[in-house]
Symmetry: C2
Subunit: 343 residues, 2 copies
């Protein structure tokens, strides 16, 4: 399992990527090689700082002189900066040097580079990002969380199939359950777009479609994949994260109001830590971009070292469980699957 890491990607790059690399090399036995892609001088300096041993045969730096900023327009910048760390890391997957790509950088750029360089899998028209959220029964993935903001109903059908394959073969869920995000749980709720999607999903063999779902289902219902277009998915994901952060911040502020409350919080700190571990994206680490011809893992922009390490772990697991052959198999059995388009 060889992974190409965009070492310049993320709000706190390159540091988090080097820290994540150190942890990944230590803890992931199946990781046979890690390519750190980015500015060679910067990465060497950072490696020295964090005691990453560059004489280790499992590591190498691949020089990429350009960086795509977090706020730059994705597709445009990928075309312009041909020597960016995202582009060069993706090339390593394209030419077979690496098995998987990981980046905490500009999501739009990573999606554009993957789509342009790797192309879509047979039978897949548009790729989608599956972003994990903690759920009482396991992990619930929002698919798509931003790759395809103006999706068509057929794209969501393909997401249902790809997401089910991911949950089954990579996450080990026996019978993955798929819901459609809507403005009410009743069958007749929704927009023209979701109603059409609902009809198609009902007819799709091989998936376990449980119908329309709402916010509370993300956390309470046994549910593996929540389908939505990339616009809605991105907004839901960010709103959920923002709410958890606001609740935690406001609770901290209230606790600091009196010494008694602070003493109480110290005694109860184990609970806060356990909650953080359960609810933090650090634990999940990475969101696969499903549907491209290569394993591509998108890590959170504000990833820490632990998050990067876990994103590399997700990449290794996706390669190990042959996610893409599984997706192609599943797509091939679906007569209504979306046609392969020229992107």
């Amino acid at each position: 399992m060889k992974v190409a890491l965009d070492a310049m990607g993320g709000d706190h790059a390159p540091e988090i990527n080097i820290v994540g690399a150190v942890q990944a090399l230590k803890s992931l036995e199946k990781l046979s090689h890690l390519y750190l892609v980015g500015d060679e001088d910067i990465l060497k300096a950072e490696a020295a700082k964090h005691k990453l041993d560059l004489t280790d045969p499992r590591v190498s730096i691949v020089h990429a002189p350009e960086v795509i900023g977090m706020a730059e327009p994705g597709a445009k910048t990928v075309r312009r900066k041909k020597l960016s760390s995202i582009s060069i890391a993706m090339d390593l997957v394209k030419d077979g040097t690496a098995d998987a790509f990981v980046s905490a950088g500009n999501t739009g750029a990573a999606v554009a580079a993957a789509t342009l360089k790797l192309r879509c899998l047979n039978g897949v028209d548009r790729a989608g990002i599956a972003s994990p959220l903690p759920n009482e029964h396991g992990i619930c993935n929002i698919l798509d969380s931003g790759a395809n903001p103006e999706a068509k109903p057929e794209h969501l059908v393909a997401y249902a199939i790809m997401g089910s394959a991911y949950a089954k073969y990579v996450l080990g869920v026996k019978e993955p359950k798929v819901g459609l995000m809507s403005n009410g749980e009743e069958d007749e709720k929704g927009t023209t777009f979701t109603k059409e999607t609902f009809k198609l999903l009902r007819q799709t063999p091989g998936i376990h479609f449980i119908g329309n779902v709402e916010g509370h289902d993300l956390f309470e219902t046994q549910l593996d994949i929540v389908l939505c277009d990339g616009f809605v998915g991105n907004i839901v994901l960010k709103s959920v994260e923002a709410t958890a952060k606001a609740v935690s911040k406001w609770l901290k502020t209230e606790i600091k109001e009196t010494p008694l409350r602070m003493a109480g919080a110290v005694l109860a700190q184990g609970a806060f830590k356990a909650l953080k571990a359960k609810s933090s994206y650090e634990t999940y680490g990475g969101s696969p971009l499903l549907g491209v011809n290569g394993v591509v893992i998108i890590a959170h922009g504000s990833s820490t070292g632990v998050a990067v390490k876990n994103a590399i772990r997700v990449a290794v697991e996706a390669v190990e469980h042959k996610i893409n052959p599984r997706i192609e198999e599943a797509m091939a059995t679906i007569p209504t699957a979306a046609p392969v388009s020229e992107i």
Copy 2:
């Protein structure tokens, strides 16, 4: 100020409505009359249970033999059940008996009844629900949170104007700030729909449009109105509520794990209570349906008595500050305002 309360509406109706009525009559001096609309026998029994004095000249029961269930399709059921509590309460506003309508019942039905019976204000094409969320700088309203799931860009422009009038004249915000919910803060982010809306908002005089906003802005940015179509708004609102609930539930579960944590939580309980007061919809109580020719306040389906009391308070304030004449004034100054359509 005379308010018609749909006393049969809500997950915990009629009890919460009677409890809310008792509290409203006690605390809201400007409430001159409260019409409790619903099944007379049921309401009399409930009034006796909660010591609501029916000889009080400020209260009367208006009999409505039918109830619209929480899960029934809104518009259809309003047309079918002409003697429902929602219909009859709305009629009281239509014929001038009451100044405002309040319901914790079926939102779709309340919106349909309001639109059918009261019609839209001059210059307004579609009504929208403004749902308050706690924000570090005050209250941030999601507009629309569900009345108009397939909105057009011009509808969001009208929401910007109506929401600004509401924030200014009812909530007392000097210069209300308006954001457009999108999948990124950069101007060029969004879908065909939001990009067109963005362009129109930039050209709209009299509003303070701050551009695209994301999840974290709901809580952190000084922001009074967040615009979105009713589909996205409904999903965001429910996802935010569900996240806050999940975080609180999971924290409770973790606290119960050890006696030490439980002791700590007891000491810190003031902080939990303060957070609950800040973040609960009970405190805000009601979401105005902006754009109809009458004051209509939608309370949360799972409202408690306090929430109903606060929804009645919001109704009284909206009437007191003449929200609808203010909206008509504001709409009249906008040359690009949406045309009045026949609904």
